[in-house]
Symmetry: C2
Subunit: 477 residues, 2 copies
């Protein structure tokens, strides 16, 4: 019971009991036939929950459904008839329904996908618009917008009217308590009515294959415009020059940046699951998340970490050594050359050698009290666990590390910058929860950082001993 | 006799016969006592040729003295009484005097050096002002302006009135035939009357120790001014930030750039004598000599030379491999980091990723005729040999490679860009003779380049075989 309440409060999900998993037919029966005083779900939501008068439920995860039923019952989510219906359900009934519905695969229209020509709205789904704080839909809802089967709903092929109504409702939500509502209220708040209509229309047509966006035919070479460092915007994807070896290197560099464990696998620690983009949000572009363009023009730079002037190459090698717990790619390796090509391209037009305000993460002051990892754990359960998991192991979806692991074997090692509580706090304050950066106060960010960094993770490689050294009792320099 | 005429025509110097070297006292006697009908030199030029009514002659090289006596005799150099006196000398007498005078050490005033507070004129002597095409005086006249003892006269401690008159005379010389006059006419032509007065005054006070110039106390941090790429001027030496690790790296990078064989010795081929500055003139700043600031913002760049996208680090490694016939410094080696720091500092304020007109050398068209290395040899003797030697081995002075060797074991190998005739021709056209760039026509530049590149030099390391490969008959990839 304590677990259920916590789940409701935090949106982190329900621990489903073994006997319920073995009895999805109980949920199926309720869905088809109702219970005494409870109408059958099928009447509105259609056979196999594929939608009818009401929205499609197939494709929603069991935690999500359970959470929504509780919200309807408590009146935290407006839903007309659903307030009354859910109000009659016991928590057990809710869970039975959730388990069964979550087992159904959504149907989507086939081959409508290619017809979606609305490039601005595709761009919003695939790239987002971080200038308004809007991350890409696919960043959380899966590359095909099919959801994660647990907490995050499928959007592809959902009813257009339902999607539009839901986004409009998020726009009105000013006192969000739960993390998903907090995030979606922020995101929807940045959308225009027209964008909401276009998003709902487009999502309803999606067929369950990955959404793609490619720069239009109006691509143009970037002129040598000199940007002011205060208002710098990296070149758009459309500004890549026509196919050339350098453009190919830039593109491959972006692939490595977005999927480091795949495209730079040999340099990533065997157990490590992190990609560059997990810390450097919005493809390395976001001004408040250590943007790559600011680093590109700032290095070489003295770093007290290794008591040396570091070139950009050396700095990137540091990321592989610590954040990726791996092996530094040699300076002339294709991985390094492609990353440098991508990073320098992001800085196109920026003056060399300047220190931009955007360098690194926005500064965060010292906390008023010593960081409290017990309080951090409570906040983590409320604000972070839905994506990163209460076990901190993040979430893989369709082979992609949707949300990064924060500790343990799969995460950064003890030598990484993120293992310094102050740096992690600065990142969290500015950027977390994803899509709702700035919503935590500084003390909360410090407490969460202290909790996250209190967990075991791979050792700092600078401290590791070789077997020979260990036998002699010495340490590696 | 043919040799003497050639020497007179070309200014490259006299081959001194062995018997003359063993008889300097003949020159001494003529200097002290004259010959029948020839007044004693000592009357005007003072004891030990330290100057009196006339200028000091001690400190002038034997080729220089011989050349001047011929020029006085022929009326090519104005000199009042010297026209009549030299006109009475036989070539043998001229050579005897030249050999003896060249053996005398010049006296300079002691401890006046530190009193020279004229920073602009010191800067001119040590740095030059390439915006007016004026190289530093020390680039040819030795770091202490003591000359090279052969072709290039000592200036330190020379009579002020003489120095000023000579520079003013160079200013009037419009039809220069000899290479030194061609060069000095260009340089003096760029000086103001006030600068000539200040230079003569300052040089007369020099005490024979190396001339130094350090940025004044009005040093300022460079603000993040955004320069237009068309009018870019690298930051002045005064713009280095106050002592810091990065500033130290920039300074050390400049030292390496200027004295690569000394400060990056381990990466320079054992026999190689080239430094970065020998191709990248004016400390890597000169817009018409592959300026480092243009490279800094252009890389990464695809190069057909190695069929790869190259980072700046890789490009510099290429210089060490080919131009310096050595070993590429690893990306994280202090030598590489310091060079990158210096090069990126030179580009301070330049927009990242732009292709500047100044990148590389100014383009030179295809020659009208096939490059003619026989004609190139004649031109080389006239225009190049005074500095680089007829043997192409350049000139060491006071431990410094004053003029670089152009072929043979001490020069770049066959894989270097300068071994491509077109690239060498472009460099020569724009920059040679040193201080008089642009004075050769394109065809002449092609011919000289063809002559220079026709000589033996170290093999392209890409073609070299390992012993094992050679035994098997295979080649390294």
């Amino acid at each position: 019971m304590a677990i259920t309440i916590l789940a409701t409060l935090t949106g982190m999900g329900v621990v489903v009991h073994a006997k319920e998993i073995t009895m999805p037919e109980q949920g199926a029966a309720i869905f088809q036939h109702g219970l005494p005083g409870l109408p059958a779900c099928v009447s509105c939501h259609g056979a196999k929950a594929q939608g009818g008068m009401g929205p499609r439920l197939a494709g929603l995860g069991r935690n999500y459904i359970d959470r929504q039923l509780h919200a309807f019952a408590a009146g935290r989510r407006p839903g007309g008839v659903m307030h009354a219906i859910a109000g009659k359900m016991s928590p057990q009934t809710m869970r039975k329904l959730a388990v069964w519905i979550a087992s159904l695969r959504p149907h989507t229209r086939v081959s409508a996908h290619a017809a979606i020509a609305n490039m601005p709205v595709r761009r919003l789904m695939v790239i987002g618009d971080w200038s308004r704080g809007i991350p890409a839909c696919i960043d959380c809802h899966d590359a095909a917008l099919m959801g994660d089967g647990l907490n995050i709903p499928a959007l592809a092929g959902q009813q257009e009217t339902y999607l539009a109504a839901r986004l409009r409702w998020f726009q009105t939500e000013r006192q969000a308590q739960s993390t998903p509502t907090l995030i979606m209220a922020r995101i929807a708040g940045g959308l225009s009515r027209k964008e909401i209509r276009a998003l709902a229309h487009t999502m309803a047509l999606l067929d369950g294959s990955p959404v793609r966006w490619t720069p239009g035919s109006r691509s143009a070479r970037l002129s040598s415009v000199v940007h002011s460092p205060d208002t710098f915007i990296p070149p758009p994807e459309t500004a890549l020059p026509p196919p050339s070896q350098l453009a190919a290197a830039v593109r491959q560099g972006k692939r490595i940046f977005m999927g480091t464990t795949i495209y730079a696998k040999k340099y990533v620690g065997r157990e490590n699951r992190l990609s560059c983009v997990h810390c450097h949000l919005d493809r390395g572009r976001l001004a408040i998340a250590a943007p790559m363009w600011a680093a590109a023009v700032r290095y070489p730079l003295y770093r007290s970490k290794n008591h040396r002037v570091n070139t950009l190459v050396m700095r990137i090698q540091g990321c592989f050594r610590y954040s990726q717990n791996g092996t530094p790619p040699p300076a002339a390796s294709p991985v390094m050359v492609n990353l440098i090509a991508y990073i320098r391209w992001l800085a196109t037009g920026l003056p060399t050698g300047v220190q931009l305000p955007a360098h690194g993460f926005p500064a965060i002051g010292k906390p008023a009290h010593a960081p409290d990892k017990i309080h951090g754990e409570e906040l983590y359960a409320l604000r972070c666990a839905m994506c990163h998991g209460m076990d901190g192991q993040g979430r893989v979806n369709a082979g992609k590390m949707l949300f990064p692991p924060l500790w343990g074997l799969h995460s950064f090692n003890e030598g990484a910058g993120m293992h310094r509580v102050g740096k992690a706090a600065a990142f969290i304050k500015a950027n977390m929860p994803y899509g709702a950066g700035g919503s935590l106060n500084p003390g909360e960010a410090w407490d969460i950082a202290a909790f996250v960094d209190s967990h075991a993770r791979p050792q700092d490689p600078r401290l590791s001993k070789s077997i020979a050294d260990a036998r002699k009792g010495g340490a590696k320099p």
